[in-house]
Symmetry: C2
Subunit: 219 residues, 2 copies
C-alpha cells in the first residue's frame, strides 16, 4: 500500500483541506492517540452546499452514521460514506466547532487557535471560502448523553494509529482540523497533537490497518 | 391579560415571522394539541447571525435548554431565553427542517408544503432573507434517543393550549412554522393544525396559563 506517499499531515492546532473526487477515499489517522479531529466537507462545485449534521441525523435516524452509511449535505445529497473505523467507534456530531468566542467564554486570555479559524484558513489555501461554519463531524470526540439530556465532555479513547476512513460520494473538499482544545479535556487531557490524512486510491479495499489495541500482545 | 389581542395565528402548514425587541416575550401555543412548531430566530440587525442548535448545546452542556437558560447564536450570543413551558417539556433540537427533498425521499409525489420553504416565505414577508436554513428548535417534537444512538420519531404529547414562552435576549426576528409533516407521525398522526404566537408585553410575568392536562378534572 502506498498510502504513506500520499499522506498530508495536519499539524497540531491546525487544519488542512484536500480535494476528493467521487470514489476517492481518505483515512483520518490519529497519530498519537486521543486527538479529536473536526471534519468539514463541502461540495466541490458549490461550497455553499456542505455536510450537515442535522440532515444526516434525519436521513439515517441515528446520532452518527454506522459503517457504510453516508453523511448528507444540507440539500440531502450523500457527500461522504463511512467505510472503515479502526477506533473504538466513539465520535460526535452534536458539538459546535471551537472558535474565539468559545475560548473567551472558557476564560482564555489572548489569542487561542480554533477549529473555526482553521477551517477558514484551510479553505482559503485551496481558493474557497464559506460564509458559515457548519457543525463539524468530530471524529474520536467522546460526548456522553445523560438521561436528562445533559452532555459530558470526556477524553477521547482513540489510540495511536486509530483511523476512520471516508469515501467521497461526490466531488468535494474535505477539511480536517486537529482540534486545539486544551481547556476542556476532550483530547485526553494532553496537549493537542497532529493527525494525518492518507489519500487512498479510488476503490482500494478499505482494509483494516491494525492499531495498537487490535493486537492482543500490546493491550 | 390582553395577549389574545396581540395574537398571530400561524395557519396549519404555514409560518409567520414576528419582530421582537430585547425583553419582549412571545408564547408559542399549540392550539389543538400534538402539533410541532419549527422555531427559527435571527438577529434583527444582521440575519446572517441566527440561533444555532449546535452552539446552544455546547454552551449549555444539554441537548435542550432548561427553563431560564438561553439559546445562543452561531456567534455564541444569547438570543432567546426559555421562560415558561406548560407542555410536557419534550422538544427537539436534533432534526433538520423538512424541505422538498425530505418529502421526495419519503415518497411524496408532487408539491408538499415544508418548514424550509415556509421559513423563506415568512422572512420575505418582513423584508429579510437567509442563505441557509438553520437547524430549527422543534417545539413539542418528540424524538427518542436509544442506547445505540438510534432516533425514533414519536407523536407529540402536547395538549390543546400547551405553550412555550421565549424572551428575546436581543432584538431579533422569530419565525415559527406549523410543521406540515403528515408522512412521519410526529404531529400525533393527525392532519397538521395551527399554532398561535401571543406577544406578551415586556416584563409581564410569564405566569403559567393552565392547560387542559393541568386540571385534575380533565385528566
Amino acid at each position: 500500500m502506498n498510502s504513506t506517499r500520499r499522506r498530508t499531515v495536519v499539524p497540531a492546532r491546525d487544519a488542512r483541506a484536500v480535494r476528493l473526487a467521487a470514489g476517492d477515499r481518505v483515512r483520518v489517522v490519529d497519530l498519537e492517540g486521543r486527538q479529536v479531529g473536526d471534519v468539514f466537507c463541502f461540495a466541490a462545485e458549490d461550497p455553499s452546499e456542505a455536510l450537515s449534521a442535522a440532515h444526516t441525523r434525519t436521513q439515517l435516524g441515528r446520532l452518527f452514521p454506522a459503517l457504510w452509511e453516508s453523511f448528507v449535505t444540507d440539500r440531502r445529497r450523500p457527500i461522504l460514506t463511512l467505510v472503515d473505523d479502526t477506533s473504538p467507534g466513539v465520535h460526535d456530531m452534536l458539538i459546535a466547532a471551537c472558535d474565539p468566542a468559545r475560548y473567551q467564554a472558557l476564560g482564555v486570555e489572548g489569542r487561542h487557535a480554533s477549529c473555526a479559524e482553521n477551517l477558514h484558513r484551510a479553505l482559503g489555501e485551496v481558493g474557497l471560502r464559506t460564509a458559515v461554519v457548519p457543525q463539524p463531524v468530530n471524529v474520536f470526540m467522546r460526548i456522553s448523553i445523560e438521561e436528562d439530556g445533559g452532555l459530558t465532555w470526556l477524553p477521547a479513547l482513540s489510540l495511536p494509529g486509530d483511523s476512520v476512513t471516508f469515501e467521497a460520494a461526490m466531488d468535494c473538499v474535505l477539511v480536517v482540523s486537529a482540534c486545539p482544545q486544551d481547556v476542556v479535556g476532550i483530547n485526553g487531557g494532553n496537549e493537542p497533537t497532529a493527525l494525518a490524512l492518507d489519500l487512498l486510491p479510488a476503490h482500494e479495499p478499505a482494509e483494516r490497518v491494525p492499531a495498537l489495541h487490535d493486537t492482543g500482545d500490546e493491550q
